[in-house]
Amino acid sequence: MKGGLEARDSRLERRSSQSLFPSLLLSLPALLFFALFFVWPLIEIGRVSFTPSEISRGETPLTVFGDPQYLQVLLFTLWQATLSTLLTLALGLPAAYVFARYRFAGQRLFRALAMVPFVMPTVVVAAAFSALLGPRGALNTALQSLFRLSQPPLALTGTFSIILIAHAFYNVAVVMRLVGGFLESFNPRIEEAAANLGANRRQTFWHVTLPMALPAIGAAAALTFLFTFTSFGVVLILGGARFATLEVEIYRQTAQMLRLDIATSLAILQMIVTVLVSWVSTRLEQRATAPLEAQAASDLRKPPATLGAKGLVAGSLCMIVVLLMLPLFTLFLRSINFEGDPLRYYVALNENPRGAFFFVPPLAAIRNSLLFALVTATLSMGLGLPLAYAIARGKLTLLEALLLLPIGTSAVTLGLGFLVAFDQPPLELRTSVILLPVAHTLIALPFVVRSILPAIRAFDSRLREAARGLGANAWQVLSHVDLPLLAAPFIGAAIFAFTISLGEFGASLLVARPEYPTMPVVIYRFLGQPGAANYGQALAMSSLLMIVTALSVLLIERMNKRVL
């Protein structure tokens, strides 16, 4: 009896050590990538930052952490990120449910359009919000003429509320895609079973659907939290000058004060919080994961039949139209020239009357943006899929928790890290164009992994075992079992990787050779000089960015049907 138990134990041990090895092997490419492009630059910039020089007084992080001034900034940063995440979840979860469970006209288009805000440059979004909600914006003007008011009734410019609204504007898509993709992959039959057992719709939702989706909700919440925690442009521009996040303070200390010791200390603080948040969410997700039966559920979507269902669909679409589409539409309106040729600013994009050296034909900017996005998507899916499987198989909890670090790392600090780390051959990459997709991938890769992990984990492994039992090799299992059944989360991840690059996440502070300007670069360039033509062309380019984003998303979703 005793001997039998021991034998079983050792067998178990052997099995776990066997499965750990392939897991490490699978994660090796991604780990090397992180070591080279993330860990090393950070170590280098840390070394330089804490050595006294013209740009550092050599203060240690501990002294900086002890300064109540920065503690206040930290608290504000946490507070706004928490509220922003809650608001984003409140708006995004119903929409995620609606898109996964109901079928209605224009569904694909709406879902693609919901992705567009994610890539828009903050200056442009601020202009859109101001055009809608500012003192002379459409809403105030309408209210004023309606109620004959002498003063604009809504004062949102430079307030805390507008920061939260803008964060929701940017991140609702994260919740919709992540949670929606998860729900789509898993069979609603379990929900039907609950209904057959007498549960009403509400009970089914609270006791079956919601608990089932918890891991995906956790992942979406963690990613939204980190995006808003490291928010720079939104807080800086929409919040006005009264609000400062850690990222804003890091930029200020770097670019204006030339105090790298303080800047890097604050970046370390940001990373500590990121690891804590990530650890908590990892534990919660793992605990909440239940094995589920996967099925390509798009065919199981039903048209909304009851009044409540119709209301839910209508409400979600309303949210998308009002929160996401309306600001984008005002931008588009402003790109139209109402005095003369309406498409004047679009035509002007292609002209170079001043013979400017840095002129970029719009098609070249579009091509560059798409090219970088394609490289980023390929790189992050190529490294991310094996990593996700490795984490799920080998239960690499620590790795999973550390994975979100790049998203929570200051782009300013990392950009300077690249500069110090890659200044010697053979890695003289400081000014190389390679660093652009690399920087995008650093953000996209964790996103990809965290967004597909919940699905991979919940995926009932008996299906894989059955396939293996029938003689399928690992690749066949992946391409014939996992890929078709988990298509929605995978496609969602690819879309995010692509759009993270289109939106130039985390790459704004690299040393750039202007040979490969992207769409956001062109927009910023026009907004740097005064005059109607510059403003018009900036908004024309922004409108092109919206169109390119929506079309790309539709195209990638299309691959879902074609390839798989």
């Binding site: 521009i237 798409l370 040393v511």
Partner: protein, 356 residues
């Protein structure tokens, strides 16, 4: 759906067929024998033909590295001083001059072209940083807005503290914006410490007058200022003395008069410098590039590319500058040493006075 897919594919193909963003401007007949790298800030602009002339005359290829705003650029130059990224750096202004010089990243070069440049622009006795252009940061006002309200433009900086201008002014945060810092320096120069009305009092009054603080020029000018195409809510904004001229220039012939004007008594002078970086790979070519930046060809190109003024006094200005974009007669100034000594303390005090 088919149509959409087709149009995407067409767009992609068209994009791929588009000419490369930057063609090599050197003549194809003789391959350039040397390369010059210029590090600069994101606002740097130049005509293609002007740069091509330098490349042709020196049988060289010029590579430009854009490195963020002026402060970020300086940071990057200092960080990479052991392995310099470039031969020449352009874009350090008088507010960062002392910091840049103290970092010891530049080599002296007494260009012969300096002879004709007025002494007031030469702020470095050792000629490690040489003046290239200057601009006047000044408050712009929206003519139509003030006319409609029956207001005459404020006659002085001090008048902005008058409750009559409540809720009308937009400034940039001096901690994140270079015109914002220049305007703070104008107020420090106008209402010095120890006078009976100090700049601190002035900013307190501005705060009481509901001044709006934008993080950067673009947001201030396009989103908050009523005189721009963005049609914001406020009629006064910190911008440049050339902005009214730019409004006419970029109206594509629609405007013959600028919609905005300058408040002359509010200007601060910003001077931009170029220098040869220590460890430059090609010192001789770097010298020639500095000479070129100070030559008639480059200097005459500055106004309509960067919307600032050339430092060579006999450079002809374009018509639109002559009519609407003249420099201000008596801008406020502070010496680089004054700025270096006061910057941190002023920014700290400003932050408490205006934002807390």
């Amino acid at each position: 759906m088919k149509k959409i897919i087709l149009s995407v594919i067409t767009l992609l193909l068209a994009a791929c067929a588009a000419p490369p963003a930057k063609t090599n401007t050197a003549p194809a007949t003789s391959a350039p024998s040397q390369v010059l790298t210029v590090m600069t800030h994101d606002s740097f602009a130049v005509s293609e033909s002007v740069l091509a002339q330098f490349e042709r005359e020196n049988n060289a290829k010029v590579t430009v590295l854009k490195s963020g705003d002026a402060g970020s650029m300086l940071n990057k130059a200092i960080l990479s001083k052991d392995a310099p990224l470039a031969d020449v750096l352009f874009g350090v202004d008088n507010t960062f001059l002392s910091r840049a010089l103290n970092a010891g990243i530049f080599e002296s070069y007494t260009s012969p072209a300096l002879a004709t440049i007025p002494d007031k622009f030469k702020l470095d006795g050792e000629n490690r940083l040489l003046p290239v252009d200057y601009g006047h940061v000044v408050i712009n006002y929206d003519k139509a807005f003030l006319q409609e309200k029956g207001l005459a433009p404020p006659a002085s900086l001090r008048e902005l503290a008058d409750p009559k201008w409540k809720g009308m002014l937009v400034v940039q945060n001096p901690a994140t914006s270079s015109p914002g810092l220049a305007f703070l320096l104008a107020t420090v120069a106008a209402f010095p410490d120890g006078s009976d009305y100090t700049w601190q009092q002035f900013w307190q009054d501005l705060r009481a007058n509901d001044v709006y603080v934008s993080p950067d020029w673009s947001d201030a000018y396009y989103t908050q200022f009523s005189g721009s195409s963005g049609k914001g809510p406020r009629p006064l904004v910190v911008s440049y003395a050339t902005s009214p001229a730019a409004e006419v220039f970029f109206s594509e012939g629609k405007l013959t008069e600028p919609p905005t004007g300058n408040l002359a008594g509010t200007a601060f002078e910003q001077i931009e410098f170029a220098g040869i970086l220590k460890g430059a790979k090609n010192r001789a070519l770097a010298e020639r590039f500095i000479d070129f930046m100070l030559s008639q060809t480059f200097q005459a190109d500055i106004p309509l590319q960067m919307f600032v003024y050339p430092v060579q006094p006999d450079t002809p200005l374009p018509d639109v500058f002559v009519k609407f974009g003249q420099p201000v007669a008596q801008p406020f100034t502070l010496t680089p040493d004054q700025i270096d000594a006061g910057r941190e303390q002023w920014l700290g005090a400003w932050n408490k006075l205006v934002l807390k």
